[in-house]
């Protein structure tokens, strides 16, 4: 039987490769940014999957829970990757915002958002 984490790992890899493929083939700047986001998504899923534990519980100690603290800890999912993902999402959001702003300004100047027109600087 395929484990959940295997599915998630392969999903994340597929998303990353898909995103890379998009960056390499799309002709529209907005689509390039979307491809970057897809890639980011893949990476984030990958990070979350690292902390995944089957039937895990939220990484919060409860004083009124029936289990002892040691037992609570034994089945907790790793909180660190989740913290990382949160940070990564925020950063990804920031980058996307910057990217879209740049595209907007470029569109104002050039009236085009095609990659092929973005070749003023070369050689």
């Amino acid at each position: 039987m395929i484990s959940v984490s295997a599915v998630l790992y392969s999903t994340s890899m597929i998303l990353i490769l898909l995103g890379l493929y998009g960056v390499l083939t799309r002709k529209n700047l907005v689509r390039v940014v979307i491809s970057l986001d897809v890639m980011d998504l893949g990476v984030n899923i990958f990070l979350v999957t690292i902390g995944y534990i089957r039937d895990g519980r939220a990484p919060i100690y409860l004083s009124d829970a029936p289990l002892s603290l040691v037992d609570q800890a034994s089945n907790m999912v790793d909180p660190l990757p989740q913290a990382l993902v949160l940070t990564a999402i925020v950063i990804g959001f920031g980058v996307t915002a910057v990217a879209l702003t740049l595209i907007m300004r470029l569109y104002e100047r050039n009236g085009t958002v095609m990659v092929s027109d973005l070749r003023g600087l070369k050689w």
């Binding site: 990353i16 995103g19 890379l20 960056v23 700047l29 390039v32 970057l36 890639m39 980011d40 893949g42 990476v43 990958f46 990070l47 690292i50 660190l80 990757p81 990382l84 940070t87 990564a88 950063i91 920031g94 980058v95 910057v98 990217a99 740049l102 595209i103 300004r105 470029l106 100047r109 050039n110 973005l118 003023g120 600087l121 050689w123």
Partner: protein, 488 residues
Amino acid sequence: MVSPMLLIAMPLGAAFLIVLLGSKMAARIVAIATVAFLAVLAPIWLSAAISEPFVIVLADVLPPLGIAFGLDAVSAGFALLIAVSGLLVLLYSFPYIPHAGEFKGKEKAEVRYYAIFLLLLAGAFGLVMTKDIFNLFVFFEILCISSYLLVAYSQEERALEAGFKYMVLGSIGSAFMLVAIGLSYRLSGSLAMADIAKALAAAPNSYATLVSVLFVLGFGIEAAVFPLNTWLPDAHSSAPSSISAVLSGFVIEVALVVLVRLSLNVFSGAMLSVLAVLALAGILVGEMAALGQKELKRALAFSSIGQVSMMLFAFTLGSEIGKWAGLGQLLMHAGAKSALFLVSGYFIVRTGSHEIEAYRGLGRKMPAAGAFFAIAALSLVGMPPLFGFFTKLRIVEAAAAAHSAIGYAGIVVILFATVIESIYLFRIVRTLYGANAEVAASGAASGDLPAFAWIAVAGFVLLVLVGGFMIPSFDRLLQPMAAVLATI
């Protein structure tokens, strides 16, 4: 002693303060006060860190769980370099930034310029201080995002284009890095570099190689390792010149040193030989491409690729003297290239053109700017007794001492690169002092560098001018730095 965390906290806080205050004057004062304060403290931290590295504990949580920072000789040395360069560039920015670009809401934008500039400094400080691989990623992103914004600051078409390209490559790099971070966390269960190093050493080779390649190449985009540096000539040539100076002067170098430190200590040793080969290719490509440029700043940007690759080559030799030589070259380059970019900023302001040919005869109109440019160029090519001669001498010496094929190849490449450098840099200098009735007659160049800009450029030029004579004192700093570079 004050906690070195101020290096990160102060610029971050000041950046937000600047945005809150919202006035141009306040922004300038807050920015310069912050950086000046850090520049004064940095030497104290440096001397303390050389004798005893700091370990900084945040919120009372000890590593590996807490967020680990440390200030050792390398990070303190770079903190000093960043703070002083940042201070000089800020001084330069006061008169220069109003000239950078014409767009709506320029007044407001200038306030944000200082805020983002401080963010960039915070990112750079954090990058050299962190002991934790995820923090490394966070500061890397702070540095990158503020760079994207600053590159595009002028909102000219070329600036926006350069910023966008930089951003796309930076995002690909950060995705690779995150995957590598995830993989190493999965292996070691820790984010502290020391733990990862141990775990990777024990891991199967293919796993370690995958992690190393993904991380080094992801991070290498920012460190301008060939062939990941394609964004650099665009970004460095289209950014406002103050930002070009910062990017070429210490941003790529900071990334490079962090990359080298990680490659030396954390990742698989095979990466070093890969980097050595890439470095040699980078020297050749950078210098040869610079030879063919018609725009001044673009030529300087390509020269940065060559110079940074030269440092990388010295670091990859693996010997103590190699690291020492690389750090010396880094220091010299920070002085010389910053000065060159800052001066070329005013060439552009005075003539309104990026083309070298437009500057014909400008050296006579702007004697101080011309002289600064010539001295910095001389140091870059390596004329004794300027600083550059001795740093380059040390690099080839280190390469010869390595007694390896790559070392000998490196000597040939560097010597050849020097000849090419002398050709294109002095073609520019000659143009500056060429006869041109048009520039002489027209008021195209109305005046030399303004006072603040003059001081800033003079500061950088002073470094290359007296650097050679101060090598013994620099060595007292560089030697412990080189030694620390070989440890986490």
